[in-house]
Amino acid sequence: MTSVDVTAAIDAAPVPTPTFWRRAQASRSLMIGVTIVGLIVLAAILAPVISPYSPDQQDLYHILGGISSKHLLGTDDLGRDELSRLIYGARTDILVGVLAIVFPFCFGTMMGTIAGYYGGRIDSVIMRVVDVVIAFPFYVLVIALVFVVGPGIRGIFVAFAVADWVVYARAIRSATLVVRESNYVAAAQAGGLSDARILRRHVLPNTIAQAIVYAMSDIVLVIVAVVTLGYLGLGVQPPTADWGSMISAGQDYLTTNWMLSTLPGIAVVITGLGLSLIGDGLADVLRPE
């Protein structure tokens, strides 16, 4: 019988996918995201330089002032400069957001790698713990933990440390499972390399990208959560400027001074948008073709 597949012999027919278009799009959302977040982070870092006033400085005789040349975005109910508080709020919320995921990121990645690489009993123990933590509604767990530790930034850090690592652990575990089956890991194992070295040199570099992509959208969730805790009075405590407590305080003046609540709200949305765009862009760029 004469056989077989013509395409096996002929050079693989190229599949004309709109690669360029997609790459352009991916980098476009990445670029926009980096620009937005970059500007906000820059403002946060330079807060003491660019803020026209101290965020805590009250002027009790000029409260709820509208837009003026002295106060570009007006003043709040204690006569504090709204613009300065917005800028310092970025400082608080972004710093807290980033710091709050450091531990979950590291610990979750570690647990996920160990579970995925070693499998077996270690895997099932870690994953059962993950299942239990995930069963708690995120906000319920965070609020309950803030209750245990006490409101404020320390409470936020502890709450996220306990509640948030599981997501990284899950993602990294499944990525590690794939990598573990690959030939180069098998080769490395056959070559007698230590587990630590294989994990560090061959496994992690191939899985960490996913954790980084997730971290971007995670910072968004954390900032939203910090803001929400601020709204509930469990988050950053006064007088520290934070977008959540600003939204909460401004809610009382929604009819007369709508900007007080709306501006920090918009700030949260824009920051979230920027970080999500970075996450999406990174995911597209890092996704293996």
């Binding site: 056989s3 013509v6 395409t7 027919a13 190229p14 004309p16």
Partner: protein, 332 residues
Amino acid sequence: MSAVAVDTVLSVRDVTVSVLRGDVRYTAVDAVSFDVPAGRALGLVGESGSGKSLTLRALMSLLPPAARLEAGSVHLAGDELPRGVKQVRRALRGRMAMIFQDPLSALDPVQAVGNQIAEVPRRVHGRSRRQSWERAVELLRLVGIPDAPRRAHAYPHELSGGMRQRVVIAIALATEPSVLLCDEPTTALDVTVQAQVLELLDDLRSRLQLAIVFVSHDLAVIRQLCEDVCVMYTGRLVETGRTIEVLERPLHPYTLGLLDAIIDLDDPVGAPQPIPGALPELERLPGGCTFHPRCFLATEECTTTVPELSPARGAAPDRASACIHRDRLISP
């Protein structure tokens, strides 16, 4: 072109399909015409991306969103199919059916296979639930599935690849068609299973007097099943004729290239010779004969003149080729 033959069931004339890439439409199937009589199988062969599957889908009105039927007519048993997706589908009911390359993805994963077959008599022919189910079991038996009454309750993922393809065929047969379009139905299967499915199709063809259009990139498969063959390249038919003759004496350098690329078990000495270059992308089709950049016969003229598909001198009467140098290929 010759008039529609009396026993011709499916007659395709100048079917042209365009595809949207970015903001530009490109012609992906260019004025394809062929006839298939009852009880005969026509092979449509070419590399992936040559437009053969698109042609089939155009006939069934199953084009993907980016593709559009630009021109051409299809006659089924002498009746011209109407325009418009809905009208075509209604006109096709019970006359033409199609089977697909990947039998797993061609089946609804969350329905028992019996239901998927019985759905046709139930919904299309308005039979009773019981009758429909019996019909489904009967069809499963017809396509050679052992223990059909029990297997009818199985889900697609519970069946082997060959079984699944038999189920797909059974679904197609449920519509009681006179024409069966097969889109590489054996490609995803093991070689032994492939042979069984081909035997089944061949058996059905003769028993049910089905007209079959069989798309494949595998010349061996075509040879086994099809009396006639059309070779396609970049959306155009480049050679047609009796399968035996086309394969014995190709009249187009592309067909020749396809044959040379095959390991010939009868001639183990001659090493397979791949066709140089690659199938051009739609956006970058060369002018003139689209095959000329890869062709060993190409001349200056080939880069400018678009060759017509026309009968070759000195060959069998139903042979045609779209190469201006075809006469140079007729050699003993």
